[in-house]
Amino acid sequence: MSTLPPFQRFLDTHRDDVLRFLVATVGRHDADDAFQETFLSALRAYPRLRPNSNLRSWVLTIAHRKALDVHRARGRRPLPVAELDDRPAHPAPADGGRGGDHWNRVRALPPRQREVLTLRYAADLTHAEIALALGCTEAAARRAAADGLKTLRKELSDVPAPA
């Protein structure tokens, strides 16, 4: 019988993936708070989780919901999203951040396209896992990803084709 790992090990295993996803979808400024909210929510639910759950997609789904909270809160703020994103809470990495500009553009896409592209390319979830996280069909997830990439390609030349 499989058992849940001690939460600390789960946290250490998935912390980098969760933070990368959150930086992509809400930007560096809000990622730290969303990260803590994600893992605190996960911990509250953890003892009742089925031991054979896919822990990685489970925690990324929670992170996705926390990111939605951030986007909703921004919608209520007077400042436009683009302005908030131009205020990094942390200095960018020395190389300028691979694809940093791209994620800024992804954040400006319609919500469903933004959600699918960040879950696919920042969190590395499969389209099937994304469909589960978003409560849509796999076909709808693929379509949203294709639409999002098409929009991005109008502005950029080398975004990967849909996987």
Binding site: P5, Q8, V18, F39, P93
Partner: protein, 201 residues
């Protein structure tokens, strides 16, 4: 350039994880907290619940940190985080003990990892042996209410989840031999000599 995951600053996710774990402990969301504690008898893993110290493991003798935490996850709760600040009292009392400045521990204990009422009785009897003194398996069996069960008493002491603080090292064979110890006989000898009681053993 393409659509790669964003880069992270080195150490940033680890620092955030540590901050999150500390919050989980402070806000009472975690059921169990742990920390490692360095000591003259090797690195210890201290594990506490809301009630108190539930486990003090010899990291090497007891299978390593992962094994210790796996067992706690199964038997108590998987909602475990590393929270060194929550175990400051444990660390301080152990430091004082090993420095020769403390004879009795005042830490609250959680007996949840003790398997049976008999084991509980045996370990309680062991806590009554004062610093610097020793007892025997036979005497402890009698104190626990089963004078003939000294083999079971040895098993109970051998599975003591909170060694050092629950001083099972003060229990010796009736023949005068060291008997056994959860942390290995070398450590039993060391603890006894630290307490000044059994220098020649």
């Amino acid at each position: 350039m393409s659509l790669h995951p964003p880069d992270l600053q080195p150490g940033h996710a680890a620092a955030l994880a540590a901050r999150t774990a500390a919050r989980a402990a402070d806000e009472g969301i975690a059921d169990v907290v742990y920390a490692t504690v360095d000591s003259p008898v090797g690195r210890l893993v201290a594990v506490a619940t809301r009630r108190g110290l539930a486990r003090l493991a010899y990291e090497l003798e007891n299978g390593g940190l992962d094994t210790v935490l796996d067992e706690v996850a199964v038997r108590l709760s998987p909602a475990i985080v590393e929270a060194p600040a929550r175990l400051d009292d444990v660390r301080r009392e152990l430091d004082e003990y090993f420095a020769g400045r403390r004879r009795d521990f005042a830490l609250p204990l959680d007996w949840a990892l003790v398997r049976t009422p008999f084991h509980r009785g045996v370990l309680h009897a062991a806590t009554e042996i004062p610093f610097g003194a020793t007892s025997t398996y036979r005497e402890i069996a009698a104190a626990a209410g089963s004078p003939t069960a000294y083999r079971a008493t040895g098993n109970a002491l051998g599975s003591n989840p909170i060694p050092i603080v629950v001083p099972c090292h003060r229990v010796l064979a009736s023949s005068g031999g060291l008997g056994g110890y959860t942390g290995g006989l070398e450590r039993k000898r060391l603890l006894l000599s630290l307490e000044g009681g059994m220098l020649g053993v």
